[in-house]
């Protein structure tokens, strides 16, 4: 059992999907409980994994390798290290909680939960896959359920949002496919094995190509491949200017799917860059990271925050705050300092938990008032005090209040950035102020002030909703007080990752 723990975590939800598909479609509650049941083992195994993960080893652990298509050197190859463990834990946790956040879905229940479980498998697979082919299959596998989940169960503009999401991501992933093939044919013997590709990273040419415009920019094979992979990942992050699918998809998606989108899917972009671009193409990473991660990340922070400030829709505000917060991850990664990079990965985890809370909270109010206009509320604190309290916690965590988890990761990122790019660090820090601006302003407009007569009788947050929020709240506080609980897991692997790139820095 313990040898195949990652396989079980990945494929349990898929088994759940098959079981759900066999249940009668009118037994809604049965379907819900069975789905919940099948997300418990991955979560339990995740907790077990947390306990048994050896923090001293920088390399891969819990590795499984089985030949899949031997003629093409394709293996079923999974394993985790410090880069992926936090994401695996996050995925297991959010998948479990989101089943409960989806309890209110009453149209096509069977289809919804079956697709949700398939999505779960795809997400988990992306984070554990170490064979590029397998990685790509999981990466794309996730798109299909997501497309349907947004398109069928989404809001009024769901069709537009779903196809936009699909087209953007597919464009990125086919570029990625070309890059994967290019790496495959450059490696000798041809392989999709990420560890082998990383070991051969010196072989990917860096001398400028003779084709315009690459000869002008001094880009070699490595840079072009880096860029193709980067665009694929940047669309998922989403980095400016590829971010426009995000507000649409987040706003139209049902609550639980928004949580998964923001909590897990966005992390795949930054995870992919850390897993693939950094170790496999270190020279290109060293050359391009400043512009495409550092500067672009800082731009994301400020641009996202300014956009969030301008929103009238509460969910859109949270969506843009994601754009802003993912900017910190990019900035932290670009620093190649121990603080910056561990701050980035910690921020990936923290943003996953915090933004999940935010979307769940938006869902709570939307279920009651059936709209999300920031201007349309007022004085909710008097009507729903518990709800307001939890919201305040999430808002403060998101804006980086000391003592809560968001603070730690943002400070680490800015500390790292200060050593390398002081100007970006200052600009990034100004993003914190903007974040505080829009969140405080929102609190003022929605929760404080005179109570809106229309919403005098809104029911308080219920037990099921609290059940989805409280675990996240506990994590937010715990990591704010004792961040080493997570940082210890990451440190060894991230230091090793830094050491791969640093010799190539100019």
């Amino acid at each position: 059992m313990t040898d195949n723990v990652l396989t079980y975590m990945t494929f349990f939800p898929l088994a759940g999907m098959i079981v759900v598909l066999m249940l009668p479609s009118d037994r809604h509650n049965l379907i819900r409980w069975v789905s919940a049941l099948f997300t418990v083992p991955p979560l339990a195994l995740g907790v077990w994994l947390y306990g048994h993960f050896n923090t001293a080893i920088p390399g891969l652990q819990f590795v499984e390798k089985i030949p899949w298509i031997p003629a093409y050197n394709i293996n079923y190859f999974v394993g985790i290290d410090g880069i992926s463990i936090s994401m695996v834990l996050l995925t297991a946790l959010l998948s479990f909680l989101c089943i409960f956040a989806s309890w209110g879905i009453d149209k096509g229940v069977k289809g919804y939960f079956a697709l949700f479980l398939l999505l779960d498998t795809g997400m988990m697979g992306v984070f554990v896959a170490l064979d590029f082919f397998l990685f790509y299959v999981f990466w794309e596998l996730m798109l299909l359920p997501m497309y349907f989940l947004i398109g069928v169960w989404g809001g009024p503009r769901r069709e537009y949002a779903a196809i936009k999401f699909f087209l953007y991501t597919l464009f990125g992933s086919v570029l990625m496919l070309l890059a994967i093939l290019a790496l495959y044919f450059t490696s000798e013997p041809h392989t999709f094995d990420m560890t082998v590709l990383i070991a051969q990273s010196g072989k990917y040419g860096t001398e400028p190509l003779a084709i315009w415009p690459f000869n002008q920019w001094g880009w070699g094979f490595q840079h072009v491949v880096w860029m193709a992979l980067f665009i694929g990942f940047a669309i998922k992050i989403p980095a400016f200017p590829f971010h426009t699918w995000l507000p649409d998809a987040h706003v139209e998606a049902p609550t639980a799917i928004s949580v998964i989108l923001a909590g897990v899917l966005l992390k795949m972009g930054t995870y992919g860059i850390l897993r693939v671009n950094f170790p496999m193409l270190p020279q290109a990473t060293a050359d391009l990271a400043y512009y495409f991660l550092g500067v672009l990340g800082t731009w994301n922070i400020i641009y996202g925050a300014l956009c969030a400030m301008a929103q009238k829709d509460l969910k859109k505000l949270v969506a843009y705050s994601s754009v802003s917060h993912m900017g910190y991850v990019m900035l932290g990664m670009a620093t190649f300092t121990p603080q910056g990079i561990s701050g980035a990965v910690l921020q990936m985890f923290n943003h996953g938990t915090i933004t999940a809370m935010l979307f769940l909270l938006v869902g709570v109010i939307y279920d009651r008032a059936h709209h999300r206009d920031i201007e349309g509320f007022g004085g909710l604190a008097a009507v729903m005090p518990v709800y307001t309290g939890v919201t305040a916690l999430a808002f403060f965590a998101s804006m980086g209040l000391p003592g809560l988890s968001g603070f730690i990761s943002e400070v680490l990122v800015l500390l790292g950035a200060w050593q390398k790019y002081p100007i970006l660090s200052i600009l990034g820090a100004s993003g914190v102020v903007l974040t505080a601006g829009y969140f405080l302003w929102t609190i003022q407009r929605v929760y404080l002030g005179p109570t809106n007569e229309k919403y005098k009788t809104l029911p308080e947050i219920n037990g099921r909703e609290l059940f989805t929020l409280i675990p996240l709240g506990i994590i937010v506080i715990a990591l704010g007080v004792y961040p080493n609980a997570m940082l210890d897991l990451l440190r060894a692997s991230l230091d090793q990752l830094n050491q791969i790139v640093i010799p190539h820095l100019p």
Binding site: I69, A71, E140, L144, F166, L178
Partner: protein, 494 residues
Amino acid sequence: MDLRNFESLKFFYPEAILTGTILLLVLLDLVLRRKEILGYIAGAGCLLSLYAAVELFGARGGWLFQHMIILDNFSLFFKVLFLLAALLVICMSLDCHELRRVHKGEYYTVLLTSTLGMFFMASSSNLLMAYLSLELVSLTSYILTGSLPHNRRSTEAALKYLIYGGVSSGTMIYGMSWVFGMTGSLDYARIGAALLQGEVNHLSLFMAFVFILAGFGYKIVFAPFHMWSPDVYQGAPTPITAFLSVASNAAGLAIMIRFFFPALSRLGENGSWLFLQGVEWPHFLLFLSMVTMTVGNLCALNQQNVKRMLAYSGIAHAGYLLMGLVVLNNDGLRAVLFYVVVYLIMNLGAFLVVMIVANATGREDLDGYHGLAWRGAAIPAVCMAIFLFSLTGLPPFAGFVGKFFLFAAVIRQGGMFVLLAVVAILNSVISLYYYARVVKTMFFDFPQPGAQEVEMTPSHAALLGFLSCLTIFLGVYWGPLAFYAEWSLRFFVR
């Protein structure tokens, strides 16, 4: 080996069985009252022929009938493929409402004759044989297209098909006459030898190839010889559209690969084919490939009729398939063979769903698909989604693996072929839009009031389940099929 007429018969069982079945159908048609039985007999004939073809798998390659046709792994591969296509189409036809008033005896006879013609297309080793087999397939296709009685669209489609086909094959035979004039032979092997030795004017040879390509291109449906396909696909009865879209397309590819690769090129090192020096044929094909996929995809974007949309998608796929020929190596050819099999499965599947919907509602336009998933047809809708996403090239479906191989072959060549790969991936993204539009209509839109429930017969359900499971299975575990494609790449040269 080089066999004379009588000795050849031993290796000719698949064709002989098919011919016997055709004659039997003609006779039984006169005697039998219950014409439905004819379909089962045709199917049984195909199965027998399939058995005979599989029996030949171990045989040594060689010329049959004094250099007229070739027996090798490559031709066997396509024979099996055509038989599978014919079998599946017969299964589809058994319970197709559109075909109710069609004369069953003629229908199955002509369908099998067309299959027989494709056999010869895949194995001809002589220009005359190639031309005759291509004409046999074309003529039967015209009849099948126009087989719906008192249906204007069907008749119009058949007429258009006939006119385009006539012009293309006329152009082709003109090109063949040039080749004959330059080399003094109709036999592939002698043509190849003459071209390698002799001093031939490259420009006139290039022109001859372009003329010949008109004939092949019209069968494979690539631009600019694609004009007939949307009308024909829309007008023909759905099982026939399915048959034309996969089998006729594959037959065109087979004859083209046979002519340009083993006959005119030499197999060099690392499985790359050396084409005649000085003839800019690969670049010409590269350009055609890019144009074809782009034209197909852009035209498909706004189609309201699902069959017509699938016709344009077929054009786009012809463009993708050409990618495998352009690179001039075994990697590319293997990718083409793999893709042809996968395309057979997913495209037939898609047309099967079109037929199921048309059986129930009589509609083939996109509006007839509103909320299909919510009106009793969740299974066909889900299967359709699988086939369409497979056509787009998304994992974990078989179409992804097919495209993966094609891209891999192109990327491996490097250089300007990367540009082709980039055009192809952009096209894949474009294609997602119109495939997803059908999925959107089926799942995201809710049924209009008064929309009919869609039901399907158990046989269709079984066929649909089989095809969709195969699409997923080959997307997850495709090692054996890739091996089979590799094995089929053994040409008999001399």
